[in-house]
């Protein structure tokens, strides 16, 4: 038989009604991957982009060179931030179901990425998040009420009613505005980092995209510019296996890890267990120090799993087994850190229950306050004149006229 060319269509491991199958996932034992010097040459650390950096082992013990040896107090804060993120998500999901807001996106199962990374960075480092990084806001201490007001597009919405829910921003907290267009923030983060280097400041930029979004041209632009100018930036691919209904094979994950694209561009690439709080913290510290000391950018692939639907408009039961998430081999980041703390003798089921209860109350109280400032359906509304502001710094004549026309139209 003569050989013929063929078209390969990536096939997902399991579909609705089938047994979850994660045999495609390549992992390394906890502690198995050595931690190189932060100034190591890219060519000497190629294994980091293929192996999987893990710190927490199956007995909940931190092992190996990547153990960041965090203080117990920091571990407890990390647990608190992750749990708060999850409880906040649950409550906002319910609010959307009740019609109080139009849209929501949970980060169930991915909490360690934002929380551990947020804690490993400095407060002045500039963050360019994607839409599933709400943990960054929790770490940097933005009151939940403010986030809720954005979700409600109410009178205290930081975006003045202009953005889809979850597209927050926070200039003072150094968290960049989220765009609905994917990966656009990646080259912007690199440009921000280039500017920091031009100005001789030692702040770094950090950005996040999903593995699906790595298919966009802006991924290439960001990687190339970061590498060419050795920009002080950390570029993160959160590989949660799913881009809405499309699994990571269609973004190119079948043949090679996403992290391996780092060395392809001449920059460090690290593949990390994204559900291992300690491992994520450790690789972020490593990459941040590398960037801050002029040794260049790092691409980090966080291997994790999108536990919830893509958004409140999505139904994953149509394209994956219902119990996929429960069978994910890398487990639940909250549970893993909790068990680690218990193993250390620094946490207990009782304390965990008490913390969860406290955070539930905090979220409920915050919600009660936020809805006082209005919801999509009830209460006070933003002034419609705001629609015409901030298109330009100064409002041009043509927009003044249109604002006047709207006022007339509305009889005010």
């Amino acid at each position: 038989m003569p050989r013929r060319s063929r078209l390969h269509i990536p096939q997902h491991h399991s579909r609705p009604g089938e047994e979850p199958d994660f045999s495609y996932l390549e992992t390394s034992p906890a502690g198995a991957v050595p931690r190189p010097d932060v100034n190591a040459r890219v060519r000497d650390i190629g294994n980091l982009s293929i192996d999987l950096v893990r710190v927490l082992d199956d007995n909940h013990v931190a092992v190996g060179q990547w153990n960041p040896h965090l203080e117990v107090q920091d571990l407890q804060i990390g647990l608190r931030h992750m749990l708060l993120t999850r409880i906040f998500d649950d409550r906002m999901q319910r609010a959307q179901r009740q019609g109080k807001t139009s849209f929501y996106m949970r980060c169930l199962g991915e909490e360690a990425v934002s929380v551990a990374q947020g804690m490993a960075l400095r407060p002045k480092d500039m963050l360019f998040p994607a839409y599933r990084n709400q943990g960054l806001y929790v770490v940097r201490g933005r009151p939940l009420v403010d986030l809720m007001c954005q979700l409600l597009s109410n009178t205290r919405d930081m975006c003045k009613g202009r953005q889809l829910p979850v597209m927050y921003h926070w200039a003072e907290g150094r968290i960049f505005s989220i765009s609905g267009n994917l990966t656009t923030q990646f080259p912007q983060a690199v440009g921000w980092a280039m500017a920091a280097a031009i100005k001789g400041e030692d702040d770094i930029a950090v950005s996040w995209i999903g593995e699906g979004s790595s298919a966009e041209a802006d991924f290439h632009h960001a990687m190339l510019f970061a590498s060419v100018y050795m920009a002080p930036v950390i570029l993160n691919i959160v590989n949660n296996q799913w881009a809405i209904s499309t699994f990571q094979g269609f973004a190119g994950g079948e043949q090679r890890s996403f992290a391996a694209r780092g060395p392809g561009y001449g920059m460090a690439g690290i593949r990390v267990d994204g559900n291992d709080f300690l491992a994520v913290h450790a690789v972020t510290q490593w990459a941040a120090e590398r960037a801050r000391t002029g040794a260049g950018p790092t691409l980090i692939e966080h291997v994790t799993y999108r536990g919830a639907a893509h958004s409140t408009s999505d139904d994953p039961a149509r394209y994956r087994p219902k119990d996929d998430y429960e069978k994910w081999p890398l487990g639940d980041p909250v549970l893993r850190l909790k068990n680690h703390l218990i193993a250390l003798g620094e946490w207990s089921e009782e304390r965990h229950q008490a913390l969860a209860q406290e955070l539930e109350v905090h979220v409920t109280e915050s919600w009660k306050e936020a809805v006082q400032y209005g919801t999509l359906t009830d209460g006070p509304r933003l002034n419609r004149d705001l629609m015409f502001q901030d298109v330009f710094k100064e409002m041009p004549e043509q927009l003044r006229k249109q604002r006047e026309q709207l006022r007339t139209e509305q009889g005010v």
């Binding site: 975006c159 200039a171 505005s177 080259p187 690199v190 440009g191």
Partner: protein, 338 residues
């Protein structure tokens, strides 16, 4: 006063801004060591260093994306896109990001980026080195769009653009780099050194964005144009001996409707000319606005003359270009109507 061509005037504008403001940086393909394929950034990297004038990879989307990040971090980037024909890979960063960042963040984030890009035909550039895509950018809310027609305006407008806190797309009509061009390629080239608008002050000055200029006073008809077409309009009116008032739009966004409409109300007739394709071109917006504002003063339908609705062909450059013959015919039609 010193004489400069448009290349020298633009170079002078950037030289002045790099010296005045340490946050001004330049980035683009071939702009640094080499000084740009049209020599517009010649000598700037040598004078201000590789950290202020950056050579970049061939990636317009990356150039603009990085420029936005630099702008957010306090710099005032001037990005060059080597030909306007190459700007399309950057359009998501321009349309969805640069133009709307201030709006979507309620004024908390913004990027004062200027994007310089040579446009227009008449240089034997074929369909990928001749386009005039300005109309596309005027349809995006949140960016300013300008195009000078003289060395004096080029320098003053570019300084104003760099100082502007809003993003500006700065189109450079490349056929005018070395001299005014009236659309007749058979005539010998006229250098800027013999033209009054080739007189350019050495120092700092600005030409305000948002102001049109009446380049020729007249009473019979208003001709509205910008870039290269200013000189074609002048030639056509001269050939027909018509006392035309010629307005250089200069700034498409924001548009100086007052200057344009005051003139049309006075003359009662109007011809709009641009090199870009006609259908949905910026002339359509001009025509609609003038019609709404000046309908009762118009004595004839508003005329439009433009490039054909085809790509810009290499072999038929002068048949494509809306030269003096086509403009004169359109002008005659506007004068003879009603």
């Amino acid at each position: 006063m010193p004489q400069m061509n448009m290349i020298q005037a633009l170079n002078s504008a950037m030289d002045i801004m790099l010296a005045r403001d340490p946050n001004v940086v330049m980035l683009g393909e071939d702009i640094g060591y080499f000084g740009g394929v049209f020599r517009v950034t010649d000598g700037l990297q040598k004078k201000y260093g590789e950290h202020r004038v950056l050579d970049t990879p061939i990636a317009e989307g990356g150039i603009v994306g990085a420029a936005i990040g630099m702008g957010v971090n306090g710099l005032r980037p001037v990005a060059e896109v080597q030909f306007a024909d190459y700007i399309y890979p950057a359009c998501d960063q321009i349309f969805s990001e640069l133009a709307r960042l201030r709006y979507r963040s309620a004024g908390d984030f913004w990027a004062p980026v200027t994007i310089r890009t040579p446009c227009g035909g008449g240089i034997r550039g074929g369909q990928t080195h001749s386009q005039s895509p300005e109309g596309i950018f005027t349809h995006v809310c949140g960016i300013k769009v300008v195009m000078p027609s003289t060395p004096y305006d080029a320098k003053g407008l570019l300084i104003a653009a760099i100082e502007d806190d809003d993003p500006v797309i700065f189109f450079e009509p490349k056929r005018l780099y070395n001299g005014p061009f009236d659309g007749d390629a058979n005539k010998p080239a006229v250098p800027w050194s013999t033209h009054p608008k080739g007189e350019v002050p050495d120092g700092y000055y600005t030409v305000p964005i948002g102001k049109a200029e009446i380049v020729r006073k007249g009473s019979a008809v208003t001709m509205v144009a910008y870039g290269t077409m200013i000189y074609v309009c002048e030639a056509a009116a001269r050939a027909l001996g018509i006392d035309a008032e010629i307005i250089d739009v200069r700034s498409m966004v924001p548009l100086d409707t007052d200057t344009i409409c005051t003139s049309v109300k006075k003359t009662g007739r109007c011809l709009i000319a641009h090199e870009a394709t006609r259908f949905s071109g910026f002339g359509a917006e001009l025509s609609a606005t003038i019609q709404e504002e000046c309908f009762w003063d118009l004595e004839a339908p508003i005329g439009r003359v433009a490039g054909w609705d085809t790509p810009y062909p290499h072999a038929f450059e002068w048949e494509y270009f809306p030269g003096p013959l086509r403009v004169a015919a359109a002008l005659k039609a506007v004068m003879e109507a009603a």
